[in-house]
């Protein structure tokens, strides 16, 4: 494949460059020029060998993107320059980076997190991932036996065009918002998952295994379809700081939960602190289906992310559990949105934020109950923990109720690490840092205990790392 792509590039007379100028990297690779326009999109489609419908989809989305004004709510986006961004970098570039080129502080972080060697290299975008590829292929084989499709979205477009075409962009249309439009025009990578009726996938599907593809791109596009009565848990991200030379990450995640299905989507992300992380995540839950978002956000310069669930038919349920950790120079604008479009639907939003060293976290929530959607229940809990007086936390809840027969509760609490709590723990021999780390870990425990074991352990270690040197 690499060869034919190289040929395509030659035929197109496009420039090849040696990515990042690594001398040990001899494979030709491709990177589009900065900025996005129709020509760049066409190049991308040519190289990927995409079908016409997808090319058209991208071009249409691009038109919408051009028309959309700059987003003015949420965080400060004034520093974001759309023309100063590479929109398409072929993934193999990244895999040719050598371990020696990974900055020391990133390596140190991996060491301290105790991340296994194989995973480390992957996280740093290094090297041939033979072991992990084998793991991935084994998993895919196992899944195929029960009819589950688990591919990167680029491959899915080629191998399952009808299925992809049927759902792609139906949950989040290009016109939904500026960043959805941008992603629809420029997307690459992401996961495609289809679970057939009645199939329950026993173990979490981890994006981490799917690493031989264009993973962790800037404009990932994920589509998960859980057919009737099926069950699946998808896990993305990792707790190590994501090493990236790109400053804009704008993913779109669409999920279809058909009748009686159950989907959980877990994200733990820790972006480098130059990154704008602007993500649109949405699920449609049909009759008696249940959608759960578990979303952990650390790092980045600005994160704007509000996973949402549209409860389309009676008995649907949406649960959103999110946590944000805002440290120095960071703004976490995170939250959740639930739309009760049908009667007897239930939602629960639990949002926890921690602000430290002048960091800012905001909760932005939306609870919507449509007219006639009787007997709906929604419960929102927002807890903010502020670690010092320079840090900040705000909540922006919106509740739109078109129906009287509903039960909506909203609780918000802001707390500081109490002197009494610190004193109590310190009187038992814990240093101030250990004590405050323990209090913070306790604060996020309701989320952490929902995570797969290895993520929970990493999450706690990560908090410990974030807390290091924060006192004294």
């Amino acid at each position: 494949m690499a060869n034919s792509e190289t040929n395509t590039m030659k035929e197109l007379g496009m420039s090849q460059e040696y990515q990042y100028g690594f001398h040990d990297d001899v494979k030709p690779t491709f990177k589009s020029r900065k900025g996005l326009d129709e020509e760049v999109i066409n190049q991308m489609c040519d190289i990927k060998g995409e079908p016409d419908w997808m090319r058209q989809y991208r071009l249409d989305a691009y038109k919408i993107f051009k028309q959309k004004p700059m987003t003015r709510w949420g965080g400060d986006l004034t520093q974001l320059d759309f023309d100063d961004i590479y929109y398409y970098v072929k993934a193999s570039d990244r895999s040719e980076r050598s371990w020696d080129d990974v900055p020391d502080d990133i390596k140190n972080t991996f060491d301290r997190l105790g991340i296994p060697e194989a995973e480390r290299k992957f996280l740093a975008g290094v090297g041939a991932q033979y072991d992990s590829e084998v793991v991935y292929h084994n998993i895919v084989e196992e899944l195929e036996k029960i009819g589950v499709i688990f591919l990167d979205t680029d491959t899915a477009v080629k191998e399952y065009p009808d299925l992809v075409k049927k759902y792609f962009g139906t949950i989040i249309p290009s016109a939904d918002n500026q960043f959805a439009a941008l992603n629809s025009a420029a997307w690459s990578g992401g996961s495609f998952v289809y679970v057939p009726p009645g199939v329950k996938v026993e173990y979490p599907l981890q994006a981490y295994f799917r690493i031989n593809s264009e993973n962790m791109g800037q404009f990932e596009r994920t589509l998960i379809i859980a057919d009737e009565g099926s069950q699946v848990h998808y896990v993305e991200g990792c707790t190590a700081p994501t090493f990236s030379s790109q400053s804009l990450h704008s993913a779109v995640v669409e999920i279809v939960c058909m009748k009686g299905s159950r989907v959980r989507y877990t994200t733990i992300q820790n972006w480098a602190n130059n990154v704008y992380n602007l993500v649109t995540k949405r699920a449609f839950a049909y009759e008696d289906a249940q959608m759960e978002w578990v979303d952990g956000n650390l790092g980045s310069k600005l994160t704007m992310k509000y996973p949402s669930v549209y409860m389309m038919e009676p008995g649907a349920r949406g649960d959103i559990l999110s946590i944000a950790f805002a440290s120095k120079g960071q703004h976490q604008d995170a939250g959740a949105k639930v739309y009760h479009c049908a009667p007897h639907t239930t939602s629960q939003i639990t949002s926890k934020s921690i602000s430290k060293d002048g960091g800012r976290s905001s909760y932005r929530g939306w609870v919507d109950v449509a007219k006639g959607a009787k007997g709906c229940k929604s419960h929102v809990v927002c807890d903010a923990l502020i670690l010092d007086k320079d840090s900040r936390s705000d909540t922006y809840p919106v509740i739109e109720i078109g129906e009287n027969d509903t039960n909506i509760e909203h609780e918000a609490r802001v707390s500081k690490i109490g002197e009494e709590q610190l004193f109590y723990l310190m009187s038992r021999g814990l240093s101030e840092e250990e004590a405050s780390t323990m209090i913070v870990n306790g604060f996020i425990e309701p989320l952490v205990k929902e995570l797969p074991m290895e993520y929970a352990v990493e999450m706690n270690r990560l908090i410990q790392l974030q807390m290091e040197g924060s006192v004294g």
Partner: protein
């Protein structure tokens, strides 16, 4: 080296208001002292200050423990030296399990000289579990306690028992028990009293702050002190508790010319 706790002419104030006004007291390893005094006389102020609570200002005086003045030390450094306070009002730490907390605390205290992240020298899980289970059994505490969040939603009695469990696990040389009996029903007082008396030995010195002699039935103090107007005005033996029980604090106030505040 002597592990005695020696308090010399200690003056403490809270928000500019003097509470302890020249207090002298020595508690030696292996000794049991009771400290009694009316509400608001400053017993908890003393206890918290000895442990290093940041809210209390030490105006003057010395507190020598392990041969060094500990007044400049952080609470955790005092704990590592072997000082322990069972709180009158233990604080809840939601989301932190008793077991996780205790493992870190025990590791920190046993690695006396280590000052950094105790995580690197955590005592092995199996060893810790075995010890915790044994001590919980000894104190009649249910196994499920280990998984519960620290003092979160504990009943008054459960909190006090959790304090005694921590005392048992941390094995200090000097322990201060601040009204560990208050809020307990009669059976619970017996359980706590018996538990503490099990822990008592030549290695442990105890300062028991209490209002009632009932706890002292289980833990007989050799010395009884009465705190009034910021000072220890009477020291004696068991007979003092009997006198207080019979006559209250008024005769002592009169004797020392202290008017009620």
């Amino acid at each position: 080296m002597s592990r005695d706790l020696v308090i010399k002419d200690l003056h403490i104030s809270v928000q500019e208001k003097p509470i302890i006004k020249g207090l002298n007291l020595t508690v030696k390893q292996g000794e049991i002292h009771a400290l009694m005094g009316p509400n608001g006389s400053g017993k908890s102020t003393l206890a918290n200050s000895l442990m290093g609570h940041p809210l209390y200002d030490i105006d003057s005086g010395e507190v020598i423990f392990n041969g060094i003045d500990i007044l400049e030390l952080e609470p955790n450094e005092r704990a590592k030296l072997g000082l322990f306070l069972a709180f009158q009002y233990p604080t809840a730490i939601p989301g932190v399990s008793m077991a996780n907390f205790l493992r870190l605390a025990v590791s920190a205290v046993r690695a006396k000289d280590g000052n950094g992240s105790g995580n690197d020298e955590l005592i092995p899980m199996r060893e810790f579990r075995r010890e915790l289970r044994a001590k919980m059994k000894q104190l009649g505490i249910d196994d499920s306690f280990a998984r519960r969040y620290l003092n979160d939603g504990f009943s008054g009695g459960e909190k006090k028992r959790a304090e005694i469990l921590q005392l048992a696990m941390l094995e200090p040389q000097i322990a201060i028990l601040d009204e560990t009996d208050s809020g307990l029903d009669i059976d619970a007082i017996r359980v706590v009293g018996e538990s503490v008396s099990q822990l008592i030995g030549p290695e442990l010195g105890v300062l028991i702050i209490t209002h009632y002699p009932r706890l002292l039935d289980y833990i007989r103090p050799q010395f009884v002190h009465i705190l009034l107007d910021g000072q220890i005005v009477e020291s004696g033996g068991w007979e003092l508790t009997q006198m207080l029980e019979a006559e209250g604090y008024d005769p002592i106030r009169e004797k020392h010319d202290i008017t009620e505040e």
